[in-house]
């Protein structure tokens, strides 16, 4: 029986978390040749509201395309943490943006904290790449795909003019998480 690995990205609509999920699924299925399914659920709003994107990665065909019990979860906002940081596996991991999630979800999983939005804005230079900072951190945290596959997938999605910005964002997220992990 093939092994499933389930990752959920959640935050506010417009933060680029669906894109982060797509990039991870591309890294897994197109670059690394594994099986991957990405899906999302969203409300009728174009922006705002809590949004989530889920990626299932497996070495075999994936039947049920939605999360059953999440191995790793990201929450960028308090609302998304309250709504989507649940159903996390015993021993699983949760990454929160520590500036926005003050009321930390409790459960039988390990919580990691990073100021993701602030890192994007102050260290990388643009708030808009917070999703790529988060993606780098989640890949470092989970080993769901290799660092190189993740980077390749990020760069294949962004326009020429933004390649350096995104490369920097991805590396920052990845390195910051490695430091946390020690």
């Amino acid at each position: 029986m093939s092994k499933r690995y389930e990752i959920r990205f959640s935050g506010a609509g417009g933060q680029g978390l669906i894109t982060a999920g797509i990039i991870l699924a591309e890294a897994a299925s197109i670059i690394e040749g594994k099986h991957a399914v990405q899906s999302q659920s969203y409300g009728p709003e174009a922006r705002g509201g809590a949004s989530k994107s889920e990626v299932i990665i497996s070495d075999g065909p994936i039947d049920y395309p939605k999360a059953t019990i999440v191995d790793a979860c990201l929450a960028m906002t308090q609302e998304s943490a309250d709504k989507y940081a649940n159903g996390i596996k015993k021993g699983g991991v949760l990454l929160i943006d520590s500036d926005f999630v003050k009321n930390e979800p409790k459960g039988d999983f390990k919580v990691y904290k990073m100021p993701i939005m602030r890192t994007a804005k102050e260290v990388v230079g643009r708030e808009i790449v917070a999703n790529v900072v988060a993606l780098g951190a989640m890949i470092a945290l989970t080993d769901a795909v290799s660092r190189e596959a993740g980077l390749q997938a990020v760069l294949s999605r962004v326009p020429e003019a933004f390649i350096e910005l995104n490369r920097k964002a991805y590396a920052q997220g990845f390195e910051d998480m490695k430091k946390i992990l020690g």
Binding site: M1, I22, S29, A36, Q38, S39, D63, Y64, K66, T68
Partner: protein, 379 residues
């Protein structure tokens, strides 16, 4: 040479499947969760000299594809349940006038506007009986991104071959999720074009059954002139109320799909571990993926569960379901509606085993746990 691969949504795969099949006309009206089909085709069709038209509403969109089809084009419209409701009059027109067309229905909840961003499977009986009057229906229900591509191609083939509307129904989950797809090479999948008349214009009759149950269809603009109407008509296309004509035509139009030979060519399904199954799960679309997951889990516990997954939903796979009904202790029918195909399974098994519905209509996916629990309750 390595095949071209991509990670894409079901809706995007549908649009690319349509292009592969030779679609040159799309008429539609945007509606969640189907809009990406239109979005991709608005980019792709102009590249091959095709036409993309966003009409003023769903009804006009359906009318535009019928008009375009009569000029010889392969045509598509894509919508969701509320749109299909509006299109029903013209779907009936396409049935009686025998106009090839493909209708994509990316299903959300209902009735009416329902829940636009949530998944549903509640249009499966509408696909069969949404338009009034006796008529044959072909409806396909793909369950993966790759299969949406291949079934869209097959929908065009069936529409052209049988000269009728063909519906492709898939739920929002399959429409919006992204999976890897391998694009078939040109020539790898069969592509069928409609039969054109072999007789000169002056001898042409649009409903001439001497050519079989599916008469050749001339293209307007190619020198052939004929009458098209929603009234019952004679072989020359003009209205008639003569009992013997009307009866023969009505029966032919149903027979061309539901006759023994046609059924074999149109029906398509997948069976998973049904050979020794004691409990059968009948599931389609995204729900079949939950069911397959459930069957694998149940087998690990030694419970002999199996899955029957129709890919052609209409015409309904009567013979096989009837046989399986005699083999198993029970048939479980999970679906994101309140038991629509459950009714059809019940009709076909004629009481030879219990048929148990699992319905879910809250906008959440029907998950494997629900199916596992229900199977375990059987005896």
């Amino acid at each position: 040479m390595a095949k071209k691969v991509a990670l894409m949504q079901g809706n995007e795969a549908c649009a690319h499947g349509a292009m592969y099949a030779g679609c040159t006309f799309f008429g539609g009206y945007p509606i969640t969760p189907s809009t990406e089909v239109a979005e991709v085709l608005s980019n792709e069709l102009p590249k091959v000299g095709g036409k993309f038209i966003q009409m003023e509403d769903e009804i006009a969109a359906m009318a535009s594809v019928l008009g375009a089809s009569l000029t010889g084009a392969k045509v598509l419209t894509a919508t969701s349940g509320p749109g299909v409701s509006l299109k029903q009059e013209l779907i009936g027109y396409a049935c009686i006038a025998e106009i090839p067309c493909v209708i994509i229905n990316v299903m959300r909840g209902g009735p009416s506007t329902g829940m636009p961003t949530g998944p549903g499977q509640s249009d499966v009986q509408q696909a069969k009986w949404g338009t009034h009057g006796d008529h044959a229906t072909i409806a396909l229900v793909p369950a993966s991104v790759q299969e949406i591509f291949t079934e869209t191609v097959r929908a065009f083939n069936l529409a052209e071959k049988y000269r009728m509307p063909v519906q492709v129904l898939y739920d929002e989950i399959v429409g919006h999720m992204r999976e890897r797809i391998e694009f078939p090479e040109a020539g790898e999948l069969e592509v069928i074009n409609r039969t054109l008349p072999s007789v000169p214009p002056e001898q042409y009759k649009p409903y001439d059954t001497s050519f079989g149950d599916v008469p050749p269809l001339a293209a307007f603009g190619s020198g052939y002139r004929f009458h098209v109407t929603g009234l019952n008509k004679a072989q020359d296309g003009f209205p008639t109320t003569k009992a013997e004509y009307v009866d023969a035509e009505e029966r032919r139009q149903v027979r061309k799909v539901e006759g023994e030979v046609a059924r074999v060519q149109i029906e398509s399904n997948e069976e998973y571990l049904t050979e020794d199954a004691e409990v059968l799960v009948f599931a389609y679309g995204s729900t079949s993926r939950s069911a397959r997951y459930a069957v694998n889990e149940l087998r690990k516990e030694g419970i002999k569960a199996g899955l029957f997954r129709p890919i052609t939903l209409w015409p309904f796979p009567e013979k096989r379901i009837s046989a399986l009904g005699k083999q198993v202790k029970a048939i479980i029918v999970p679906e994101m509606n309140l038991g629509q195909m459950n009714l059809e399974v019940e009709r076909v098994v004629k009481g030879s085993c219990p048929v148990i519905s699992i319905g879910r209509v809250d906008g959440e996916p029907l998950n494997p746990g629900q199916i596992i629990a229900q199977v375990k309750e059987v005896k």
